[in-house]
């Protein structure tokens, strides 16, 4: 039941052109900034947006020639779109009914699914009586009720508050693990993507810019957007052994490479000094403080200079250094914390 798709959608001033392959039981997350085309991609897979070209092949069958109602898919929408005039049970039974099950049969399927998502007690509730988390689970049950081969989730957790989100995220992960078809989910939240997906596909401006397992993407970002998402400083440079030249600056890294590379290091690895520290001139530069903000328990210092960078320091260090915006500081990062990888 492998799904292979090449999606092409032309719009005025926007083109989506991506290829993806999802194995049975695999969860792939499309991650990207707003307007990158991830929802368009999902709607094209569902048959809700017409494709300008490309193809969708699921299990050897061509899907792109079928209307939405004929595709073996289940979809969970961002704000769930539960039918307001139907009970939770009838919402879940809607799909099986449309695909030819008898009323009693459809309701049995629906009741079993509601039970599975822990909402057996809410079968008779109307959508407006459900909390956000409950509505999300009904929406998932409704999508699973048609026994889809391809499950599509559009920002499944975006409409939830922070607390519910945590709980629903882990539940959703469990349900997705139990689903044997291919799953494609769209999100702009890196945490959702990392927790829920086996593989990430990062889309920017309608094209794939990076893909890999969550760990790979988190460790080796390839665009500024991904670097920001995973919280790393990222630069392009040219390597000559363990020495990497980024602009005019020289970095030492623990990796031995040649040619164009990316250099990444964590903001926590960047130390700040009032005066030029002694030692190696590598991995050291002079910067201007652009801004200071809280970041969890620490303080994130925005640095300007030869390049923009973030440095995370403790509030105590901030007080010791007596830093204020506009001030000149020296910044350094250890070679062992500086990762380089081929561009």
């Amino acid at each position: 039941m492998t799904m292979r798709a090449h999606l092409v959608v032309h719009r005025p001033a926007f083109t989506l052109d991506i290829s993806l392959e999802v194995a049975p039981g695999e969860v792939v997350a499309l991650l990207g900034p707003n307007g990158a085309g991830k929802t368009t991609a999902l709607r094209a897979l569902a048959g809700l947006t017409a494709m300008s070209g490309g193809e969708i092949v699921l299990d050897g069958h061509r899907l792109h020639t079928l209307a939405a109602e004929q595709r073996p898919i289940g979809m969970v929408f961002q704000d769930y779109l539960l039918f307001p005039h139907l009970s939770a049970l009838d919402n879940v039974a809607f799909g099986p009914r449309c695909r030819g099950a008898s009323k009693a049969e459809a309701r049995r399927t629906a009741a079993a699914l509601l039970e599975r998502v822990g909402l057996a007690g809410h079968a008779a509730s109307r959508p407006r009586q459900l909390s956000g988390g409950q509505a999300q689970r009904v929406a998932l049950a409704r999508a699973l009720a048609v026994e889809p081969k391809l499950l599509l989730l559009d920002e499944p957790l975006a409409a939830l508050d922070a607390h519910t989100r945590l709980e629903i995220r882990s539940q959703l992960r469990r349900h997705l693990a139990g689903f044997d078809g291919a799953t494609v989910l769209v999100t702009h939240d890196p945490l959702d993507a990392m927790v829920l997906a086996d593989r990430l596909i990062v889309i920017e401006h309608g094209a794939i810019v990076q893909q890999g397992t969550p760990a790979e993407v988190a460790r080796r970002p390839r665009t500024d957007y991904v670097a920001r998402l995973v919280g790393l400083n990222l630069y392009r440079g040219v390597a000559d052994g363990t020495r990497v030249k980024v602009g005019e600056l020289l970095f030492s890294s623990s990796d031995r490479l040649e040619g164009p590379v990316f250099v990444a290091f964590s903001p926590a690895a960047v130390a700040l000094y009032r005066t030029r520290p002694d030692g190696s001139p590598r991995n050291l530069w002079q910067a201007t403080i652009d801004g200071i903000e809280r970041h969890g328990d620490n303080v994130r210092v925005h640095l300007d200079g030869p390049f923009a960078a973030f440095s995370d320091i403790t509030p105590a260090a901030l007080a010791d250094l007596d830093l204020t915006p506009g001030q000149e500081v020296w910044a350094s990062v250890k070679a062992t914390e500086t990762h380089a990888y081929p561009a």
Binding site: E69, M75, F77
Partner: protein
């Protein structure tokens, strides 16, 4: 958040208040006048006169059947105008509203020319099926439906345009055909709009005069509806006209009031 004072300071300007009050009086006074002049003592006796009951029954039946006809034809038409992109849709939408602005008498004449005994379709109907519409109770229903249908179509089309089409997309991803989407998702969701349209349509049909008298004539028992009876009574027996008018007024108010809370006001 800052609270914004709801009441603007100062008096409302008389340039607005004066015409507003005049307008209100203009709308209410005739009704009040009717209540004042009504022959209250003889009212029960007049109400139960056979020709009054006959006209009332005919009016209610015709208006109701006309509304059903409008629902059966008008809801699909509204759906077509709102959901299907076909060439000439703008023209079709404009044509639908023509009976709204057409003087009803002209509508009656037009119906006669098409459905009359010598009309384009009427002649064929008469020759083939032996069916004649003008000057029959069916003719009354046709005339009322012709005049009232735009009210329904416009109301339902508005409801369809206002309805969130993503629910229809959600239904499609669950395997629902367009017909299933329509009757299991779209129709229940726009029901308030359909009922509001049907009420407007029914009220318009109940009060229909011009097209009815032109196309269906004025025969007691078959085509003399309440408005026609009122008009006729006014020439011979003004008090009877008042009584008939009161009945029409009461029926309209009762229907409007009973539906208002449940349907007509949007949630």
């Amino acid at each position: 958040m800052r609270t914004v004072p709801r009441q603007r300071s100062g008096r409302p300007p008389w340039m607005l208040v004066l015409p507003a009050l005049l307008g209100l009086a203009f709308l209410v006074l005739p009704l009040a006048g009717m209540l004042i002049r009504a022959p209250w003592t003889t009212l029960p006796q007049r109400l139960t006169e056979p020709h009054v009951l006959e006209a009332l029954r005919l009016s209610l039946v015709c208006a109701t059947v006309a509304t059903v006809v409008c629902l059966l034809l008008g809801v699909p038409l509204a759906w077509l105008l709102a959901r299907v992109d076909f060439p000439g849709r703008r023209v079709a939408r404009a044509l639908v509203t023509v009976p709204l602005v057409l003087p009803p008498v002209v509508g009656g004449v037009a119906l006669l020319l098409v459905l009359g005994r010598r009309g384009l379709i009427g002649q064929w109907l008469a020759d083939t099926f032996g069916v004649t519409l003008p000057f029959t109770t069916t003719g009354v229903i046709v005339a009322e439906a012709f005049v009232a249908m735009p009210f329904l179509v416009i109301s339902v089309e508005g409801a369809l345009r206002g309805a969130d089409q993503r629910f229809e997309e959600a239904a499609a991803t669950l395997g629902a055909s367009r017909w299933t989407v329509f009757h299991r998702v779209t129709l229940p969701m726009i029901m308030p709009g359909v009922v509001a349209g049907a009420v407007l349509c029914w009220a318009r049909a109940l009060g229909e005069f011009g097209a009815t008298i032109t196309f269906a004539g004025n025969f007691p028992g078959t085509t003399r509806t309440m408005p026609l009876a009122v008009y006729l009574a006014l020439e011979t027996e003004p008090e009877a006209a008042i009584v008939l008018s009161l009945v029409l007024l009461a029926v309209s108010l009762i229907i409007l009031a009973s539906l208002r809370d449940r349907w007509v006001t949007s949630p």
